[in-house]
């Protein structure tokens, strides 16, 4: 399993939020957030293409 370095102050905040949100551990919270953000970024290009298609579907633009 890979390890990453996080600033101590940020880690303290992460621990606090993870506990308040009911995560089993700060690690689980971090993994969840990273997974969600990564998936969103991976999907962004495809979505942008969809927007372009939608605009170009307007008869006024070929």
């Amino acid at each position: 399993m890979a390890k990453i370095k996080i600033d101590g102050e940020l880690w303290a905040r992460v621990k606090k939020v993870a506990e308040a949100a009911g995560y089993a551990s700060p690690e689980e919270f971090v993994a969840h957030v990273l997974e969600k953000e990564t998936a969103a970024l991976e999907g962004a290009d495809a979505d942008e293409e969809e927007i372009k298609k939608r605009l170009q579907g307007l008869g006024y633009i070929s």
Partner: protein
């Protein structure tokens, strides 16, 4: 909102599974109860041109119009700035200009994300969801909203107990919630959330198949005279990452005859070559038995052999089972469909893209446009049958869309004019004008001496001979800088812009925005310098001459601070381009692309337009009452109509009653 979040929420298709209502924005209107038996009727004919209607009436093919003109008023009707249908009809609905209703163009941009979007409506997917295995169950928050602001004519009427029927008025999706009977118009998407995406199944894909816009080509291979392929439905928000829902079609070709059978989900249709089907219900499963999305399609079997070509219309929202709100009350769209038959619900139903991309030939396009017209005439009869009091508005799109596509066939000066085109193609525009004569005859049967009757159009028309690329002009003149000049050919929709060195950009069909500090996320133009910069750019644009023709593409560049008043005025582009007759913005400029040449000849069959200087494309106003106003405009109609019912227009309505 972050860029990727915005990207996630712009698809109306994503709202199909979780659509909500829309709250009307209203202001108090001091008035009194309507007088009984009073009627106001508006026949709205998008794109009817004053010169063309006079020409076709003079030729004798429009006897009802001829008779009506003889005893009544026909005059030009001032259009909106810019003269685009969503803007113009918003002027009509609100009795005010874009500074009040906030619709400045077909295309706006989010100043936070600098992403463009269609200006009429917006959808947001559910904000709260729960995951169940691979399913994402929406719990709350999904909605689709009408972005037009300001007062709404028929909401005010309904609030004062004036019965109102409004069929397909543009810029009314989703329809404003009122007691009026309304069906939404331009802005109503297909089930995918687009303005219409056709599907074209063929074993001989055209060379331009990858460049289709407004449609998709699905290559197929026939084995034993059969194939299976998918029809694409809405984004399935019940699934992770919202993949599009699909419906499997199976197609069998008769081994000897030019006939094919299409089957899906227990249904089937058999067509012979060249035949159109009626409407067929299609159902997209979203979450097993928990949810589905219903739409409807028409099939057209273009060719059976040697190559197979099947066109499937955009999946329209079925008026009998609407997947999104398209009428008020909710059952009104179905009520009409039960009596008049199903009808296209998408905003502009004429499939101009299929003609532009060569999927339709001229006659095939005209056949599809005729279907749209016949459906609309049937709906007119049904809605008129129920009307005996109050306000009645009915809208036709035929002349607008068909003039865009067919003008070139009647204009010998047009670069795409074909002298040897068949008479039905050359006479197509006149044919659709003549069809309005029949519509007028039906409406006049309901007009009596207590009725104020208007025929209006939102704009006229002009040929589209040459394109002007605003963004290339801005780049060439140093107002735009590209982040990576070597990627110039790939640039589109405001990507690859160096915002730290860009002071202005073109967006939409007539708009030019400054990169304003405090508004744009990386704005560099100080607000105090904006007016002088806008004036300098406007002067440069007005002075520019097309190197090939010597003409000035821009007859006037309007400064929005001098033209717009109201709470939304600050959102307007700084400049609005008024093109010379014969010119319009290049498509690639609207897509914020930067080709080498600023001007070039128009080569698309969409070869007439109205997004030019408003003085050159005024609409029509026919009235059975004397018109006192010297220069009536669209925004004057709503206060005129309110006054006919004894109601005082609200303060936001800046238009003025026009009758004497």
């Amino acid at each position: 909102m972050k860029r990727r979040d915005f990207l996630k929420v712009t698809g109306t298709g994503a709202a199909v599974a979780a659509a909500g209502g829309v709250a009307p924005l209203l202001e108090a209107c001091a008035g009194k109860a309507r007088p009984l038996g009073r009627k106001v009727v508006v026949l709205a004919i998008d794109g009817m041109d004053p010169d063309l209607v006079r020409r076709f009436v003079a030729r004798g093919g429009m006897p009802t119009f001829k008779k009506f003109i003889e005893g009544n008023t026909l005059m030009p009707l001032g259009t909106s700035l810019p003269p685009q249908s969503p803007v113009a009809w918003s002027d009509f609905i609100t009795g005010a200009g874009p500074g009040v209703h906030g619709i400045f163009d077909f295309i706006h941009r989010d100043p936070e994300t600098m992403l463009p979007y269609l200006s009429i409506s917006r959808s947001t997917p559910p904000s709260k969801t729960v995951k169940l295995g691979r399913l994402v169950i929406p719990l709350a928050g999904g909605k689709v909203e009408n972005l037009r602001r300001g007062p709404c004519l028929w909401e005010i009427l309904a609030r004062h107990d004036v019965p109102a029927t409004v069929f397909k008025c543009p810029s009314n999706f989703p329809p404003v919630e009122t007691d009026a009977r309304t069906v939404s118009g331009l802005g109503t998407p297909d089930i995918r959330g687009t303005y219409g995406t056709f599907s074209y199944y063929t074993d001989d894909p055209p060379a331009n198949a990858d460049e289709f816009t407004g449609g998709e080509c699905i290559p197929v291979r026939l084995w034993d005279d059969a194939f299976t392929a998918d029809l694409t439905g809405p984004a399935n928000t019940f699934r992770e990452n919202s993949p599009p829902a699909k419906l499997r079609l199976t197609v069998h070709r008769d081994p000897t005859r030019d006939v094919a059978k299409i089957t899906w989900d227990g249904d089937e249709v058999i067509l012979k070559k060249g035949e159109w089907s009626g409407w067929h219900r299609v159902r997209f499963k979203l979450a097993g038995p928990l949810a589905d999305a219903v739409g409807m399609v028409r099939f057209y079997l273009k060719e059976v052999r040697p190559h197979f070509r099947l066109y499937v219309s955009p999946v329209n929202i079925d008026p009998l089972e609407p997947a999104l709100p398209i009428s008020t009350p909710g059952g009104y769209a179905a009520q009409i469909a039960r009596r008049a038959g199903r009808y296209y619900t998408q905003g502009f139903p004429e499939d101009t893209k299929a003609l532009s991309h060569g999927v339709f030939g001229e006659e095939e396009y005209l056949a599809q446009a005729e279907i749209v017209l016949r459906e609309r005439l049937a709906c007119l009869e049904e809605t008129l049958a129920d009307f005996d009091d109050g306000f009645f508005y009915f809208y036709f799109s035929s002349i607008d869309q068909d003039t865009h596509m067919m003008w070139r066939t009647m204009d010998p000066h047009h670069p795409l004019y074909q002298p040897d085109a068949p008479p039905e193609v050359k006479g197509a525009v006149e044919h659709f004008y003549r069809a309005m004569d029949g519509a007028l005859a039906k409406v006049l049967a309901k007009v009596d001496d207590k009725t104020a009757f208007f025929i209006i159009s939102d704009h006229g028309f002009a040929p589209f001979y040459r394109e002007f690329n605003l963004n290339t002009w801005l780049l060439d003149n140093g107002y735009i800088a590209l982040a990576d000049p070597f990627r110039r050919a790939e640039t589109e929709f405001l990507d690859n812009i160096d915002w730290g060195r860009t002071v202005a950009y073109g967006l939409g069909l007539n708009g030019l925005y400054l990169n304003l500090r405090g508004r744009e996320p990386r704005g560099i133009v100080e607000p105090g310098e904006a007016a002088a910069l806008a004036a300098k750019i406007a002067a440069g644009l007005e002075a520019y001459r097309d190197p090939e023709t010597g003409e000035r593409p821009l007859v006037k560049v309007y400064k929005s601070r001098e033209c717009y008043r109201g709470p939304a005025a600050a959102e307007a582009p700084e400049l609005v381009l008024g093109f010379t007759r014969g010119y319009r913005l290049a498509d690639d400029s609207a897509a914020v692309e930067f080709p080498e040449r600023i001007c070039k000849v128009r080569e698309d069959k969409w070869a007439a337009d109205h997004c030019i200087d408003p003085a050159h494309v005024r609409g029509v106003l026919f009235s059975n009452k004397p018109v006192a106003a010297k220069a009536p405009a669209l925004k004057d109609l709503a206060p005129t109509i309110l006054k006919e019912f004894g109601l005082e227009p609200p303060r936001e309505m800046t238009g003025t009653p026009i009758l004497g």
